[in-house]
Assembly symmetry: C2
């Protein structure tokens, strides 16, 4: 497999590229093949779920592991700017679902002809079915105004929260829990429904629930909305627009 | 373990929560315990690497798997707005490193007292060591002006690219490849160095390379910059500020 072999003469050399000994450090070896394949499989078989949620509750220990995974995300300046609002209340979920349906209708009206018809018929959120909704937010003031790593790109704290979302999503796949990101929502409505302060940014509204069978490839691909792009068309080498000369 | 058991009476019921039969669907069962643990381990032991890169090249098949993982990210409206600029050229890497050092000095000047001194001494990017740099970009016009799922939150295409970054990062951990996100960079400089058009958003500059030993916990935590926040303080239930009554 792809375990790299380092020259043995360098095996004892911990300098300059190993952490200084006053800090705790650990082995970073590649995973065994079966474990590595499990990670790739979680990534490859993760789906954006809308219609396939089962109503069974998610066990608290499972949900806890998913939130732990989210909390393990990288964050700019170790800011950890996220919060997780876990919504199980049927009333709040129903209000979120109603807000989504309104936003869905608004968005459908922006498309024309067959595309508008197709959009109107798509189920684009599972808020009416998922037993749990998790809203991931960003507290942009958590560390004061100057944040290590954020000064050159103020969006990086929002990006940290997206990394938390993706951690949760991949961990959920391994647990048999489907996740759907509901982006067709007026954030003002979400804010009002859940009492989220104005200073807190709403990054993602996620539906979670057990799923037994999922689409084998992205639902929008199977429904003919858009095709998967060939990866080779998306890779450049050493500068924009330069096609790789050999393999990547 | 946490494999949910569904009542057998419902096992044959594919309606209404299973995909319609005209679409290809697959089993979504929880992973076996060892595989599930591998996914959690990849997430938990992923690090933001700056100083621990080895100069050994990354094998093309390994890098390919990482870019495949990135390309498997969710994207709003199945937009797949990302490109990957793979930089191995020593000249381009040196120019990116110089740009980072300038931005680092600018950022250090925004802190005061001990914090400024500490910031100035931190190594905050591995551009001088990593054998490969991958720049992840977002083509916001890839699907025309109206994108399914993006109308209510125009940032969602950028978020899709961040999901691609996190997929790559987690897959890299399983491959023994360290990744560091370099956010302390003037994007105009990066754009000029790599010839990235103005219409393309630069989302992330990532350093990649083999790592033998990594910090056991986030480097900024071990160096005393900030502490890990307790997860329980970050979780609310059914509304902002409401502490969960039981377990999550």
């Amino acid at each position: 497999m792809s375990r790299p072999s380092f020259p043995s003469a360098r095996a004892a050399d911990r300098s300059p590229s190993s952490p200084p000994s006053e800090f705790e450090h650990v082995d970073f070896a590649p995973f065994a093949a079966a474990e590595r394949d499990a990670v790739h499989r979680a990534i490859a078989t993760r789906r954006d779920v809308r219609g396939e949620f089962h109503p069974d509750p998610i066990a608290p220990d499972v949900l806890r592991r998913l939130l732990e995974a989210a909390h393990r995300a990288p964050s700019v300046g170790f800011m950890q700017p996220w919060n997780f609002v876990v919504v199980r209340s049927p009333d709040e979920k129903a209000r979120l679902h109603a807000a989504h349906l309104e936003a869905h209708a608004v968005e459908a009206s922006l498309f024309e002809g067959d595309r508008a018809t197709q959009h109107r018929r798509l189920k684009l959120a599972g808020l009416d079915r998922a037993p749990v909704v998790v809203v991931v937010t960003c507290d942009r003031d958590r560390c004061g105004p100057v944040v290590l790593g954020r000064t050159a790109d103020p969006a990086t704290d929002l990006y940290s929260c997206v990394c938390a979302v993706q951690n949760l999503w991949i961990a959920a796949r391994a647990e048999g829990i489907g996740v759907g990101w509901v982006s067709i929502l007026d954030k003002g409505r979400v804010r009002a429904i859940l009492g989220i302060p104005d200073r807190i940014e709403i990054v993602a509204v996620l539906c979670l629930g057990h799923v037994r069978e999922a689409f084998a490839s992205p639902e929008l691909e199977q429904r003919g909305w858009r095709r998967r792009l060939p990866l080779d068309e998306l890779i450049f080498e050493d500068g924009w627009g330069r096609r790789p000369s050999g393999g990547v």
